[in-house]
């Protein structure tokens, strides 16, 4: 858990200019203590996902029948058993750390796919409009009217419930969110003066769309994506819980809750801890998304920059 500092920051082009911006972002994060705690927790989770399987993979898979359903907060078996052991005596702490990888990977994959595809289609629908736009919007309507869980169940029941298929199913159901938002924003932004000016000056369509329009709507999309990450995580957990998501021996937090369900009356901690991991992560994402809504909005940003009375 202490390896959070190794998490790489996404590479940005101009490293020289970037530093003050990053610092400013950090101080704005510090201004909102809840968001700051949420960001720390998420970094820790990402750290678990990156190095967890490599660090604790053996411990998480190793059975120790003497520690079957070992109660939590008992350090006599070592610190790995601080959260207790599962039905095969595997330490729950190690399993939660290892399961972070699959859980976050699926959610991140689904959010990235749906965001890229949805945004691209939304840009086309918004900027081109006309017949193409109409078709794209009707497609979004059709996806939206699907009972998404049902679709997921049918597809996963047919195809193998692998990580890739799970990402695919979850991504498809989330595309309309980005598509509709992007289109609505593009329709508004493209009428603004700077876009008109760019058109008059003869900028090419890709340049207008990617250099002038996209940067304006990206903050909104990122805020939605953060919120959506939590939603996708809950959906994946529900699918795994129902037994049609990820299958053992692979683990996710949702699957761990489902495995612990049989032992509810005798060993509540089997289902409790992974559930707590889910709730903490989704709550952090919700908090961070709320902060982003303010921090990424130039007209609201001052609230964080002046520090506020509460924190002063």
């Amino acid at each position: 858990m202490s390896d959070t500092t190794t998490v790489p920051v996404p590479p940005k082009p101009a490293a020289m200019r970037e530093r003050p911006a990053l610092l400013r972002l950090a101080s704005m994060l510090w201004a909102d203590k809840f968001a700051f705690a949420a960001a720390l927790l998420l970094l820790a989770m990402i750290g678990c996902a990156l190095v967890g399987p490599w660090l604790m993979g053996d411990a998480a898979g190793g059975q120790n029948l003497r520690a079957r359903n070992a109660p939590p907060f008992d350090l006599s078996r070592g610190w790995l058993y601080v959260l207790g052991g599962d039905a095969l005596g595997r330490p729950l702490l190690a399993r939660i750390v290892v399961a972070a990888q699959n859980t976050l990977l699926i959610a991140a994959g689904a959010v990235a796919c749906s965001m890229i595809i949805g945004t691209t289609l939304g840009l086309v629908a918004g900027y081109r409009g006309g017949w193409t736009g109409e078709v794209i919007m009707r497609l979004a309507d059709v996806i939206m009217s699907f009972p998404s869980l049902l679709l997921a169940v049918i597809v996963l029941y047919m195809l193998a419930p692998s990580v890739a298929n799970l990402v695919l199913v979850l991504a498809i159901t989330r595309i309309p969110i980005y598509l509709r938002t992007t289109r609505a924003e593009v329709l508004e932004v493209r009428e603004r003066m700077f876009v008109q000016a760019a058109i008059v000056m003869g900028a090419s369509t890709p340049r207008i769309v990617f250099r002038h329009i996209l940067p304006v709507i990206l903050p909104t999309l990122l805020t939605i994506a953060t919120l959506d990450f939590a939603f996708v995580m809950l959906a994946e957990s529900a699918l795994s819980f129902l037994g049609i998501g990820i299958q053992a021996p692979e683990i996710t937090w949702g699957l761990m809750v489902s495995q612990g369900r049989q032992y509810l009356t005798s060993a509540w901690w089997l289902a409790f801890w992974p559930g707590l991991a889910i709730i903490l992560t989704t709550m952090s994402l919700n908090l961070l998304s709320g902060w982003m809504r303010v921090a990424l909005d130039p007209t609201q940003r001052w609230r964080l920059e002046i520090g506020g009375k509460r924190n002063g």
Partner: protein, 304 residues
């Protein structure tokens, strides 16, 4: 208004047809019901016979044609699992889900509107921050986890309510309580936001200047305008519940349409899946219509 309803009906119908076609073929790809319903040592003859009875021997397209033909006279086919008309099975389950959704959404709406309005009225107060925190937790919690923790605490630990099933009023408490949490968290936030916007508007300032007291300002002047965005979210959440609260129904052994869908998919009971989809689609369409009407009733500007 009528034109809008007509347009909505057409687009709903198109997506429903698409959905039925897709599910018809996809579900049939999940496997052969004969392998599931007959004993393992059943002879090939018995299997043939079984498929013949249920019309699974013909080419897929012929089966599809026959299904559509039957649909035209409102025949939804037989449930393999229950050996009864599929539509009967579905309507039974749907009645349960409808009751569950109605009770839950009524409670959610009442609680969220009151709490959200109060939070908006005392923005920044301890109460406001408490309500925000509560709704945040509500919106982030996985329902299956809440459900099993609730079972451990209230059924196994304290023995107040039964763990699952139906029968008495007590059986309803846990499912409703668990389903309550997420929509509640969401709607409180929306109510608070909408109320804040409305409270800052000119007509509220006018009312204040005229010396109207706080309570009438909230419940008479502001709430009606603030309800518009709230109603949309309530509709979305109600649709999600009508679609079957699959997870909650499964955990609590509640015989609703969500559990029915999952069971039918796992048991390859194709006719029931399709009937369930059509019934819920119709229900959601009707609900959206009701929401549009509520919109028009609340806001004279929309009535045209």
């Amino acid at each position: 208004m009528q034109r809008m309803i007509g347009k909505r009906a057409v687009s709903s119908l198109i997506s429903l047809v698409g959905l039925v076609v897709l599910v018809f073929f996809l579900s049939r790809l999940t496997g052969d019901p004969a392998a599931l319903y007959l004993p393992i040592d059943a002879s090939e003859e018995m299997r043939q016979n079984f498929r013949e009875i249920h019309g699974l021997n013909d080419p897929l397209l012929v089966q599809f044609g026959r299904y559509i033909g039957d649909l035209a006279v409102l025949d939804f086919g037989e449930s393999i699992r229950k050996a009864r008309p599929a539509i009967e099975v579905v309507l039974e389950g749907f009645a349960w889900t409808l009751q569950l959704a109605l009770i839950t959404m009524t409670l959610v709406t009442l609680a969220a509107v009151v709490l959200g309005s109060l939070a908006a009225f005392r923005v920044g107060s301890l109460f406001d921050r408490l309500a925000s925190m509560l709704s945040l937790i509500g919106a982030s919690a996985p329902d299956f986890w809440i459900a099993i923790v609730a079972i451990v605490v209230f059924s196994v630990g304290l023995g107040w309510v039964p763990t699952s099933g139906t029968g008495t009023v007590w059986h309803w408490i846990l499912p409703i309580a668990v389903l309550f949490i997420r929509p509640f968290g969401l709607i409180v936030q929306v109510v608070r936001g909408a109320m804040l916007t409305a409270l800052g508007s000119a007509y509220v300032k006018t009312a204040r200047a005229k010396g109207v007291r706080n309570r009438p300002i909230i419940f008479v002047h502001t709430l009606r305008n603030a309800m518009l965005p709230v109603i949309t979210v309530i509709g979305d959440q109600a649709a999600a519940l009508l679609n079957g609260a699959v997870v909650v129904e499964t955990i609590f052994g509640f015989p609703g349409v969500g559990k029915l869908m999952i069971d039918s998919i796992l048991q390859r009971d194709f006719n029931v899946i399709l009937a369930a989809i059509m019934v819920t689609a119709l229900a959601i369409f009707v609900m959206n219509l009701l929401i549009d009407i509520a919109y028009a009733l609340l806001d004279p500007r929309i009535r045209t």
